[in-house]
Symmetry: D2
Subunit: 443 residues, 4 copies
């Protein structure tokens, strides 16, 4: 039987914004109804197995710093250690009141010398996770296959110059989809950390991208056969570890899906830190994906504005989380997607309390954002201002004719020659007023 | 009759790499055959009217610095001044041996109080340019409409929240297409400097992008009616002056074209400085566009690696120009596109010789690139190494089955379970050797 | 007599955070005592003449968009127009309740064909400003000489390769210091927009930097002679318009001051947007300057995280303003410096109300920051955590010996050989908890 | 006795630029006299032990990829493995004809459970290295202490909030200096990867920087006592692994040295990739350091222009290496410093030939730069143009008076009032001509 690993930490409670207790929620109140639904249903929080359980604090210049209690076990049996980790993870899910979790196949179970053995080990760990889910009511938000860590994938997985590597990756995705299905997972994610190039000099762009499309098409076919319910999701990132990743950002990924006829089978999982590394705000990427009908799920994290790599920090900027939740509320929610904390402790944060505090900081920040966005939408200030700004497209014959496709350049030239200078009646863009209105709601 | 404005400058001649004369070509020898065609046919150099004639050296912190001789004329008649500028431009085209030129409508002729007057002035200047073309054999590479400078376009042209602004822009495009046709122009370009947003808060992304698509569809219809021969070209740029421009980069623009069914009518004009501002190498953008069948023309310039805005410098990095010409040679040339020097003098370069030297520096750099790329392709070193790298897709049954779409995840799982660890026979990526090979040809 | 230019706008009042009126202060309540002083004394708000009165909305790709009422006057007399602008400015200062203002010599009075005439025009405008100050109680926070706009400064002012340009710049600084003195200005600023290089190839770094030091030494001598009371301030910026500006950031400027023995005469004016362009947070630059004893004044603005140039937006990020005010409160205030809004309207904001709203947005944001920082300091949470973190330097013999300079490497080797592994007792860095604590105060 | 590990690779020979053999030098001809000295004396190449021997191809998203022959040994004895690595390293030094090497203490010998044991292991490995040096004539360019990898240094070494960590770091530096001395090392380097902060919120900037100064002062004292001949060198880097490193760039480090009176004891080791990460060109950092008298040694590598982290690639850009060698030639050489290849193979380059090719690519690139820079200096084109540009400081009375400190603002105002507008006679900056001249020499 499992012994509680963190007896000093109890179940985290909502205490309201004025509480001085750090180990409490100040904004996230799971059952409170905001904008017509309980907060937990809007937010659909998910914990990332890889960061929470497996991140050891090492970085390119430094060794591991974490000495988590679940790692302290007699050496030898890797599946036993995997069990221990899984139990620790469920203890954290429970204490934090997080409803969902996400995993890579290789996070939860070891890679063994043969694929058959590895698959068998995965089956054992999945069986335990299924039990723990049944006991706790926790659910998988999404699963994914880790196609970037093993050196066989150094030149790419679906985009490897080597066909046997492609086959290995395909086998791994099949098994990871089955594991996700077994655990009732609602989505399945592809992040192509090695699907890109280190130098264009040695790269056949066209072949690699066609192969990636072939790979994804096979996955979509198998998804249907397997009966996995939710959408498949691609996760854009501009680079790192690749010098250039093919799924650079939302628009690049949309181009790829459209070109290869994959836009019916795939949506996107947007990560905020990836957005900023690609030169966009997170809000830009979310709004763009929503406009394209591709917003499936969110990796809620944030980067450091001064660093050029993926820091995977918990989201704490309330203005940003307010904007994120604006997009989510406007599209009526994320389900079957959710908000996965693809975020980790700083290397120097070595106490188990830090792990709990970090999740609290992210959950509270997203909850503040939800409360702010809900008030903003309900008051309707921004929406009204914006509707007014575009009124000529709705309220004038010219606007309606253009959007209805009834006119061409020649018609419009006649209009333009007859009209006075449009600048003379052009309203201000009022950016400062929009920012004041937003700022008033960011609390 | 026109009096020569720069009598001190003669026609620039090819003198070879060892000449010490700065006012000579050291690498560009127009009629010399390289890789089966004269250099002038591969390179199709074009001079940009706006930078060469109209850039006055002002910047956001400083006043004009140029005192060009063509601007010294009795005040009053703007069309007269436009004539004077056009004659100076043709003198420069002639002395530099540049075959093509590019223009915005508002570069070559003044914007007057009414659109009708403005159009009439444009007609007069176009008539002169046509005469000068006939006398000199120079040709228009592309024309475009300036939809970013006038304050009426401050919120966008095709993406304005205001329908009358859209109409004005449409009228301007119609007229600019007619001017391009009249001058025998081979392509027509759209650069949407204001087609984007300053803040998402006041922006209706979906409406604006649909309107942009409507606008481009009208232009494509009118192009066919007018009988303009070459393709329409979109020119991606990530931002500046907009905070975000919708045509961010090649992939973003491809997504837009595919989504709106415009990919048959439009290709791209790739600018190197825009590529680097978007977080890509110029070579990446060129190769991506070529792969997508969208590489129409090139704005040959370069940016400063340490600055975050568009410096529009002449290309002088020979490694970069070698890679650019590799893409061009591989796709068999750019025609009807070409290499337009969307590049300007530094603000502090105030002598007329600087204008000539700057173009020499760019033409020689592209010519060195052409010579290097031709030798590289003819020797075939990189192509052979790359073909070898991907041989498993061609030479193994597994590779052929995958690319033929004959197998799915289940088949590949069987293959993977049966095969030994692929890493054990995975060749090196050999990036350093590829770089040595390239470096040997960069001379 | 002056006629009110903006009769529709009254004096802006404090209405509290729940007011729905945009043209009101929601957080800035000038006389309210916060942390022992009225808010106006902590904040010492200043309006920038150049942005508020002179910015016309033009950008590198676009013409002017503003049609301010003060510019609508019969053509001809530039000094008359300068008077009109100055009166408009004081009306704005008054209506917004801003106590200070800042100016460049060439903002407030025209540059005429000779220096003597230009100086005379400046005298006239300064005389009017002095009258308006006397009537309103407004004060100059700092003056400065505009040594970047005129083409004579294109290669630099104090760092020009040309000695007569240096002399001209020196004359201009002398006169601008006199104007500042005449207006009771409390500080004098140097921003070296052209003191840097466009290319190192044509630059003599050592000579240019020595000349800059000579120039500043002359200014310091003349300041003493003139009896200008406050400090001279350098304003760091990494680049733009220069490719590289010598006063790159706080540390670079500190190195320059120390090397040339100027650190007694000069402090710094830190601009937030310049900080982020240099790859630092604004808080980093403020804390670094404060640590070095060089924090003189602040240009309170902010940049866009996705753009690579100076956008000079009003500060609206409350987390950032909270941190800024933390530094200010910790050093006991900024006087004789202050918070100057070196910030401008977006190009598309063309209504006079926008100008007022923009200043309200900045003033309220800084006031929210002040309120947050005061509560944070008074509760002492961060300060206590930090003191605890460094306690070994205060509470152990080893820490005291090291900081007292009593030990060397040999002594410390003996200590290290004798002690157990320090990692085993090393506390967590607790970054997430620090961020939670800050976040709780950001309201 | 040692058995050759790479029998397939012979000693790399100079074959000239037209050779097709990749495993040969095409430009580096060690004994050839260029600009008055043999190439080997100008270039003073050094191989980095950490990258060459210890880099295993792992990255933040991936496991090790290298299977170097020297790592294949019976498990158990770490010092035995260290011996094996050292012998392999000397074989590479020999085959590549590299004269110098650099190391961290923990690269060459293992970290054992106690400092005493670790020191003893280091002594053993140093003894072997000394033997190998004696046999081969190879020399240490510099040694350094690895104060960033072990978790005890996670909060900093000299800037740790914990005094016992400071003591441990001091002991490690003492021992590493002794090892460097024992091996006849010519310099000793400090790179402070953890001397900075992850968040300012938990950081006492002033205390940390004073402690860093104390630490360096102790090292300088011990250096004198020990009789280490060459200078101590600080190596600037802006960030990574720290969010902000105190030795951000050349100027920041210079400010630190000046402020703490350390500028007599320390010079700088400039790394090109660190320069570009700090927002500077490598040439800028080298020229700035040279101007300040602080250029001690160079880490010759380069970064990827599109990535925001330290890629540590071998230098291959000939324009860049030409500029680097210009600085080196102008200051008469780098000795006792040199050109250390702080550069590593790409993760995907897994063959031992890649390691040799990579060094050849860097050595040839630096040699091409040397040849180019020598011709450029000997022809004197750039130097003459630049001398002319600044002639007014030498050739006019005004220029001489200013640089001699004979005049003040009042004198210069008199000059300025009397002189005509300086812009009217201001020469062009001629950047394009300078670039043409440089380009002609980049071959």
């Amino acid at each position: 039987a499992w012994e509680e690993l963190f007896p000093s930490i109890g179940r985290i409670q909502y205490e309201g914004p004025d509480s001085d207790t750090p180990l409490a929620f100040h904004y996230y109140n799971a059952e409170e109804v905001v904008h017509g639904k309980p907060m937990r249903e809007w937010l659909r929080f998910s914990m990332a197995y890889w960061h929470t359980i497996r991140a050891d604090g090492s970085d390119p210049f430094g060794a591991a710093t974490k000495r988590w209690p679940w790692e302290q076990h007699p050496a030898g049996d890797d599946v036993e250690l995997a069990f221990r980790r899984m139990r620790a993870f469920f203890e954290l899910l429970d204490k934090l009141g997080v409803d969902f979790w996400c995993f890579h196949d290789r996070d939860i179970a070891p890679e063994l010398p043969t694929l058959a053995d590895t698959n068998a080990a995965l089956d054992q760990v999945v069986a335990l996770a299924k039990e723990l889910q049944a006991a706790s009511g926790k659910r998988v938000l999404w699963g994914t296959a880790q196609l970037f860590k093993h050196p066989r994938y150094m030149h790419g997985a679906a985009t490897s110059p080597n066909a046997t590597v492609f086959a290995h990756a395909a086998a791994q995705v099949k098994k990871a989809m089955e594991a996700t299905k077994e655990l009732g997972g609602e989505n399945f994610v592809f992040w192509g950390g090695r699907e890109g190039y280190q130098t264009l000099l040695n790269t056949d762009l066209a072949l690699e991208q066609h192969n990636l499309a072939r790979f994804l098409r096979m996955a979509a076919d198998y998804k249907r056969k397997l009966g996995l319910p939710g959408p498949l999701l691609l996760e854009p990132k501009p680079q790192e570890p690749a010098k250039h990743q093919y799924d650079f950002d939302v628009s690049t990924t949309a181009a790829f899906l459209l070109r290869h006829g994959l836009d019916k089978d795939f949506k996107l999982n947007i990560e905020c830190n990836h957005a900023t590394l690609a030169g966009h705000s997170c809000y830009h990427e979310l709004e763009t994906a929503a406009m394209l009908g591709l917003l499936g799920s969110i990796d809620a994290n944030s980067g450091d504005p001064q660093t050029g790599w993926d820091t995977d920090q918990f989201p704490t900027d309330i203005r940003e989380t307010t904007l994120m939740m604006l997009t989510v509320l406007r599209q009526g929610g994320l389900a079957p997607g959710g908000l996965n904390f693809d975020a980790k402790l700083r290397r120097e944060s070595t106490a188990i309390e830090d792990l709990v505090l970090a999740h609290i900081s992210g959950m509270d920040a997203m909850a503040r954002g939800l409360r702010n966005a809900a008030r903003l939408l309900e008051d309707g200030v921004l929406e009204r201002m914006r509707a007014q700004r575009y009124s000529s497209w709705r309220d004038t014959q010219l606007g309606r004719d253009i959007t209805a496709g009834k006119v061409g350049l020649e018609d419009l030239e006649r209009v333009a020659l007859a009209q006075p200078e449009p600048f003379d009646s052009l309203p201000s863009g009022q950016q400062e007023l929009y920012e004041i209105q937003l700022s008033r709601y960011v609390r």
